[in-house]
Structure formats: structure tokens, C-alpha cells
């Protein structure tokens, strides 16, 4: 069973990195939003530094949403989901492997790129660190919440819009806690611990619920 899950994880990473796989899509989209922000708002370093963490978080949410629609759809279309359902691993763990692979190729690059992109928004070193830590803890929640939406819309030809409408309301608490944890780290007045623990709880909770819900949605699709 572990072998089957490792094979799924490895194959999904390989597919994403191969030509046309779309691993760079989110990262480039993230860069586009971040570079356009100072051009739209104006070169005021104080203002940019104040809204920077929120911009980075917004950009991360949107970039993750961008690549999610193909998470299960491609496997449904070419029949590899049927093969995965015949493996000894339960479908919930198949979803866990696929979503983890998706986070490794779309979420983790955002976390790594965040401090570099933070330079464009005139963030202080503390702010960069805070954004990176909150994104590292919060992006898995975004991927697992989105996975449920992706599973529900996997049978649809143009499910991207519905996926966004279904997932964004559930992603909002993650965004709120992510930004408030970053702000708490910056101003030093409010406690940093509370929002960061809430963010971690959201990630763990959506990992468990998201896998079960996605598996149920995929089973119902057939």
C-alpha cells in the first residue's frame, strides 16, 4: 500500500514538472500579481510594506486556486482514476497522496518564493519571515479545501468557475488567520501564537475532512 501511494506521489510530481504540466503556472501568476501591485498603488514604501503581507497572501490563494481544477479531472478523463481505485490503498489515501504532490509542486514553491517577492513590496525582514512561516502552515489548508472542490467538479468540462465559487468561502478563514498572524508578528502588540495555532488547526482539519470529502465526491461521480 505504501508503495502504491509513493508511486502516485512520484508520478504526479513528475507529470507536473514535465512539459505542459503546469507546475510553474501558479508561481508565474503569483509573480504577476506581486509585480503589478506597486505599479497600481504607487511607489510608496510605507504603504507597500503595510499592505504587502496581505497582498502576498491574496496572491497565494489565487495562484493555488488556479491550478486546482485539473487535480482529479485529468485522471477521470484518461481513466487512471479507475486504476487507482483498484489499488490496495483506500481512495482517501490516494487523495492524500495526490493533494500532497500538488502542494509540493504548487504550494511549496510559493512559500519559497514569498521572501523574494516580498522584496518587491518593500517588506521588512521580520515581515518576510512571518509571511513565509504563515504560508508554510496555511497553504496545505488551501490545497486540501480546494481538492474537495476539484473532486466535486472533476466530471465537468468547465468546472473552474464552480470550483472557485465552492472553495473560496471555505478558504476565507485561512486567509484571515494567515494575514492576522503575519500582522501580529509585525506590530508586536497582539499575540502571534493564537492565530498561528488556529491556522495550523485549519490545515490539519482540512487535511482530514478534505480527503474524506474528496473521496466521497469521486466515488459519487461514477
Amino acid at each position: 500500500m505504501t508503495g502504491a501511494l509513493a508511486a502516485i506521489l512520484q508520478r504526479d510530481i513528475r507529470l507536473a514538472l514535465r512539459q505542459g504540466g503546469g507546475a510553474a503556472l501558479g508561481l508565474v501568476f503569483f509573480l504577476l500579481i506581486v509585480t503589478m501591485t506597486p505599479l497600481a498603488i504607487g511607489p510608496d514604501p510605507a504603504l507597500l510594506a503595510r499592505i504587502g503581507p496581505a497582498m502576498l497572501w491574496l496572491a497565494a490563494v489565487l495562484s493555488i486556486l488556479l491550478g486546482l481544477d485539473r487535480l482529479f479531472q485529468a485522471d477521470v478523463e484518461d481513466g487512471s482514476l479507475q486504476q487507482m481505485r483498484l489499488s490496495s490503498a483506500p481512495l482517501e489515501l490516494v487523495v492524500l497522496a495526490k493533494a500532497t504532490a500538488h502542494w509540493l509542486v504548487t504550494g511549496l514553491p510559493l512559500v519559497i518564493a514569498a521572501p523574494v517577492y516580498g522584496l518587491l513590496l518593500a517588506l521588512s525582514p521580520v515581515a518576510m519571515l512571518a509571511v513565509t512561516i504563515t504560508l508554510l502552515i496555511g497553504t496545505p489548508a488551501l490545497v486540501f479545501i480546494g481538492a474537495t472542490g476539484a473532486a466535486l467538479t472533476s466530471g465537468m468540462r468547465r468546472g473552474g468557475l464552480l470550483l472557485a465559487i465552492l472553495s473560496l468561502p471555505l478558504m476565507t478563514p485561512v486567509l484571515i488567520f494567515g494575514v492576522s498572524a503575519t500582522m501580529a508578528a509585525l506590530d508586536g502588540l497582539t499575540p502571534f501564537r493564537t492565530p498561528i495555532l488556529a491556522l495550523a488547526a485549519l490545515s490539519l482539519f482540512s487535511m482530514v475532512v478534505g480527503c474524506a470529502a474528496s473521496a466521497a465526491a469521486l466515488r459519487a461521480n461514477d
Binding site: A4, A7, R18, D78, S80, Q82, R85, L86
Partner: protein
């Protein structure tokens, strides 16, 4: 090992596709499922694979209702289950990790289906018939004794069909089970056949609304049989 199905019914989109299908296939024997388009051949295959829940009836292994065939099944479905951007080798080794490897390795399986030269080719460059053969090579190289095959001969040329028959015979001789849905004769010796026919109209729970005389003309829009006096 005996695969049995008792009183299976299939309902899709509220419509009864077939009902009261029963069969019994033992190790070393094959069941060939025939029927018109839409008769439910693929649905039956999906039910045996456990991908579709029967509306009624059950599928069991060796007469034990607790045991389901799930992990013994190798599926050659209508959709090949191959990733276009990965090579034949990568696709097959993924399937072997996923489903369990058989004694036959990838090279031998590809040799058996006549695709040794394509091992390093991405699947997107293969023709439909070649993809079908890769799918067959997957059955050969994975350790799944029950083969479910949906139109295995589709897109294959005559020579490849003879090769397919030979490989299926060999699998049966080794004690495997095959359930194949097909339109064309596969030439397997003493295979049972199961013909899926649409259930009679009164078999449904409810009378279809188009049976109602009043709305017939509007609904059938000229397809209605001509009546006397018109």
C-alpha cells in the same frame, strides 16, 4: 476461485439498464458479455470492478459474501488509464507499483503484445490500437488474476486480435478468470456467453411518461409510428 454474481440490476440516470443478471465464472474460464450499445456491458464491468454499486444483487468471490473481488481485479477499461506525457515504461512501472507486479516484467509483457520498440516512447505518440496493447501489457505485468476487459479488441488489427486471443487463452490456462465485454468474436474456446438485453417495459418500477398517449405526438416529434387514418 469462483466469481459469482446474483440477481444484479443496474440503474443509471433513473433508467433501468438491466436486471436479474446472474453468472458464475470459475478459475480457468471466461465469460463473454455481448449486447447492443447501451445494453450495460461497461456498467456490468464497472460493477464487478467495484466502481459502481449495483441497484440490486451482489457480487462475491468463492461464494463468500464477505469477500469482494476488489484487489484481485485487473481492468482494461474503455479509457486506457495511461498518461500521455509519460513513456510506456513509466506508465507500466507506475501500474506495477500501484496494483502489484506479476512474474512477467515490463520487457516481456511488451514483447508479448509486440511493442518492444515503443518502451521509451511517450504514450501521446502511440495510436489508439497501440495504447490498447499497452493496456493489455499492463494486465500481463500486474499480479491481478481476474481480468475485466471492456472491448479489448477495439482498435486492434486482425493480427493483434489473434495475439490477444492467445494471451487470454494463456491467462486462462494459468488459472485466471476473464470477463470480457465485446462486439466481435474473440475466439476463446468454451467461454460462457452472457447476452445483455434491455428489460421489458413492464420491468420498470414506473411507467415512462412517454408511454402516455396524450403527449406522444409532441414528444416524439414525427418519430411516432403512423397511426391508421393519418
Amino acid at each position: 476461485m469462483i466469481l459469482t454474481a446474483s440477481n444484479l440490476s443496474c440503474r443509471r440516470g433513473g433508467r433501468l439498464i438491466f436486471r436479474d443478471i446472474s453468472f458464475r465464472v470459475a478459475s480457468g474460464s471466461a465469460l463473454v458479455v455481448t449486447g447492443d450499445n447501451g445494453a450495460g456491458k461497461s456498467s456490468l464491468i464497472a460493477m464487478i470492478a467495484g466502481l459502481l454499486t449495483p441497484a440490486e444483487g451482489e457480487i462475491a468471490l468463492s461464494g463468500d459474501p464477505e469477500q469482494t473481488p476488489g484487489e484481485l481485479i485487473g481492468l482494461m477499461a474503455h479509457r486506457d488509464g495511461l498518461k500521455p506525457s509519460l513513456t510506456v515504461q513509466e506508465n507500466l512501472s507506475w501500474a506495477r507499483n500501484l496494483l502489484g507486479a506479476s512474474a512477467m516484467d515490463i520487457d516481456e509483457a511488451l514483447l508479448a503484445v509486440g511493442l518492444s520498440h515503443a518502451i521509451a516512447m511517450p504514450v501521446e505518440h502511440l495510436s489508439a490500437g497501440q495504447r490498447r496493447r499497452v493496456s493489455l501489457a499492463r494486465l500481463l505485468s500486474c499480479s491481478r488474476p481476474i481480468w475485466l476487459m471492456d472491448e479489448p479488441a477495439g482498435a486492434l488489427d486482425q493480427r493483434a486480435i489473434r495475439g490477444l486471443t492467445g494471451l487470454m487463452q494463456r491467462h486462462l490456462a494459468e488459472g485466471g478468470i476473464i470477463v470480457a465485454a465485446t462486439h466481435q468474436p474473440l475466439g476463446i474456446d468454451d467461454a460462457q456467453t452472457l447476452h445483455l438485453a434491455p428489460p421489458p417495459v413492464d420491468a420498470g418500477d414506473e411507467e415512462p411518461f412517454w408511454e402516455d398517449d396524450d403527449c406522444e405526438d409532441e414528444l416524439l416529434m414525427g418519430y411516432a409510428p403512423a397511426r391508421a387514418g393519418q
